[in-house]
């Protein structure tokens, strides 16, 4: 082998660099956690609180991630505009909750609040789904057989169009969700602080995810979706309506995202035209984390990301006396995205996508 010395040196350097990266990440995590815990700055309650908020956030990520994972599974395409579908849901929910507030219905007790929330979610689903189907029809369907970069760019375009359409329609301002007194109350458990909003978000997310899972695994259309994800051509040969499966996938993903939009807005109490961007990327991270194309993986990935993001800054960084570690929570999330793509591109539970290469 006549590899030159320089070549061998660079190769060695690359391997060393990648190892250094792993070691550095592990070190930051381990040493940081140890320092934070030993400093005794935070009580157990604080950690439990972080876990709870991580669970809440994570279940929202999981809901959004389902749309990414299913669309990627069936079309091998990152639906960049998925975050905007989520934003559309949040907007739709805003109008329902505000209307309920204006009518004086919202804060009449737990039941009225719950009814409002259910209606808001239904309306959000009813808005988000057609938007997603329209995007699919205009921006993606004509490009189904194009090289993979082409639909990706079209998706970026669709994402812009949706963002700035909402900005044009509703203005650049931030809309604040009305206060729902019921949601801010805490569960009567001593020692830890769990608000009703957390409970509602987590439960609704799990109900919807279970529903989706059963739909995909048990129904005929769900089977068709899985078949098309496995092999489009063969599925078509076996008489499956490929187009219908794809459209259903988009619709299901959008319904989950629309609902997630309402939950997210209930949690953070605001919505504006860029609301979908960061949660969108995070949810994609969650999908990759769990193994893209893999439905339980997306759920797991979302929950995991929620935890890391919630606990991470405090646990890993606070020990190093990093000033305002919460500013860096997105850095942690994106670092994790890159690390997963580099070291375990098939995710935690593994990809469900047959890779065909020469």
């Amino acid at each position: 082998m006549k590899a030159s010395l320089i070549e061998r040196l660079t190769e060695g350097a690359i391997v060393a660099f990648l190892w250094l990266l792993r070691v550095a990440v592990v070190l930051v995590v381990v040493v940081g956690s140890a320092l934070t815990i030993m400093s005794g700055r935070y009580s157990l309650e604080v950690y439990v609180g972080l876990v709870v908020s991580g669970l809440t956030l994570g279940s929202i990520y999981a809901l959004i991630a389902l749309g990414y994972t299913m669309v990627y599974g069936i079309l091998r395409m990152i639906n960049f505009a998925h975050g905007e579908i989520f934003m559309a849901g949040a907007f739709a929910g805003y109008f329902v909750v505000t209307a309920s507030d204006k009518l004086g219905f919202l804060n009449q007790g737990a039941v009225s609040a719950m009814i409002t929330i259910v209606v808001a979610i239904l309306v959000a689903v009813a808005v988000a789904t057609p938007v997603a189907l329209l995007v699919e029809k205009i921006a993606y369907r004509p490009l189904r057989n194009a090289p993979r970069l082409v639909p990706l760019i079209s998706a970026i375009g669709a994402s812009f169009v949706l963002q700035y359409t909402f900005r044009g329609l509703f203005g650049p301002g931030i809309y604040s969700y009305p206060t729902v007194d019921f949601l801010d109350r805490t569960l009567p458990i001593s020692g830890i602080i769990v608000r009703y909003v957390d409970v509602i978000v987590v439960i609704s997310a799990f109900v919807m995810m279970t529903g989706l899972y059963l739909f995909v695994m048990r129904t005929k259309l769900g089977t068709a979706i899985r078949a098309v994800s496995e092999d489009k051509d063969t599925a078509a040969l076996m008489g499956i309506d490929v187009n219908r499966a794809i459209v259903t996938t988009f619709g299901l993903g959008a319904a989950m995202a629309g609902a997630a939009g309402v939950l997210y807005a209930l949690l953070f109490r605001q919505v504006f035209f860029m609301t979908g961007f960061v949660p969108g990327i995070k949810a994609f991270t969650a999908a990759v984390l769990g193994g893209i194309g893999n439905i339980p993986g997306a759920m797991l990935g979302g929950l995991f990301l929620g935890q890391v993001e919630s606990i991470g800054p405090t646990l890993f960084l606070d020990g190093f006396n990093v000033p305002s570690p919460n500013q860096l929570k997105d850095v942690i999330a994106f670092t994790m995205l890159v690390l997963v793509l580099v070291f375990r591109p098939s995710g935690i539970l593994g990809e469900r996508i047959a890779r065909s290469r020469a």
Binding site: M1, K2, A3, R357, A358
Partner: protein, 284 residues
């Protein structure tokens, strides 16, 4: 001494063993063929040699050096070049550029030199272009250097792929179904061309081929794969009369009817003796 020795090579895809415990050797300067029914594992074996797949077990030694752990580019640097069953040219590059990029390893110019346009780089490029034009002529594409690879007719694309492989100055050339999709005249030309390659350049050639006329005409040794296993090996004459081979090709029950073998495995063509003097595709 054999140029390439594979020992007990096994490659699995999930539950499917595509290449099963295969021993294989090819002598320096010889032409050998790999045949077998569809899905026998021939292309998979090529992919194992060229570093496209990591093998699960066994060893592949090229010129005294184990190569099964090397990257594709390192294997290419050692002198193994290949073509693909479904042509894989760089579609948006011209025929000329396809060959130029094939010489990549043998050019030495650095990117800084290229930006500055140093004398060394200009000479290097000059040599590369001359070489590329010779190769184009060699495969009979002398007037088509400026055409996009994707715009060439099918047969020309196959020949361009061979030329690109030759640009790496290989010692072992792996050809995956070089005459696939060609008419009898074209495939006759390709046969001559392959023989000519070996005779003039001394390149060792291993080819996968379904066209028995071609296989029997030029191979010095034939290896037959069936479900990933070697079921026979020998000269064309030996292979044509091997009952296992006939069974593999014609299915169970036909083994006895040797008279039928001609339909599946035609007898050796009366080869023109002086192949080296024969017309190359270029001059044809």
């Amino acid at each position: 001494m054999p140029l390439l020795t594979a020992t007990a090579v096994t490659k699995k895809f999930g539950g499917l063993t595509a290449v099963n415990n295969l021993d294989f050797e090819i002598e320096q300067g010889s032409i050998a063929s790999l045949i077998g029914p569809n899905g026998a594992g021939k292309t998979t074996f090529f992919n194992c040699i060229a570093g496209f797949y990591q093998i699960e077990a066994g060893q592949i030694v090229f010129d005294g050096q184990p190569i099964q752990r090397l990257r594709r580019d390192q294997i290419a640097h050692l002198g193994i070049s290949r073509t693909y069953q479904n042509i894989r040219l760089f579609a948006n590059m011209t025929a000329m550029e396809n060959i130029l990029v094939g010489q990549h390893y043998h050019l030495r110019s650095s990117w800084i030199g290229a930006v500055l346009g140093t004398k060394g780089v200009r000479e290097d490029e000059g040599r590369a272009h001359r070489e590329a034009r010779r190769l184009l002529r060699f495969v009979g594409l002398q007037n088509k250097g400026d055409l996009l690879a994707s715009n060439l007719p099918y047969g020309d694309q196959r020949r361009l792929e061979v030329a690109r492989a030759l640009a790496n100055k290989p010692r072992l050339l792996l050809l995956d179904e070089p005459t696939a999709g060609m008419n009898p005249a074209e495939s006759q030309q390709m046969t001559e061309f392959i023989r000519h390659l070996r005779d003039e350049l001394g390149t060792t050639i291993l080819l996968i081929e379904h066209e028995m006329r071609v296989v029997m005409g030029i191979s010095e040794k034939i290896t037959v794969l069936h479900y990933g296993q070697k079921i026979a090996e020998g000269t064309p004459i030996q292979i044509q009369t091997d009952p296992l081979v006939i069974e593999a090709y014609l299915g169970r029950g036909s083994a006895g009817t040797a008279g039928h073998e001609a339909t599946a495995i035609p007898a050796v063509e009366a080869t023109q003796g002086g192949a080296s003097a024969g017309p190359t595709p270029a001059s044809a």
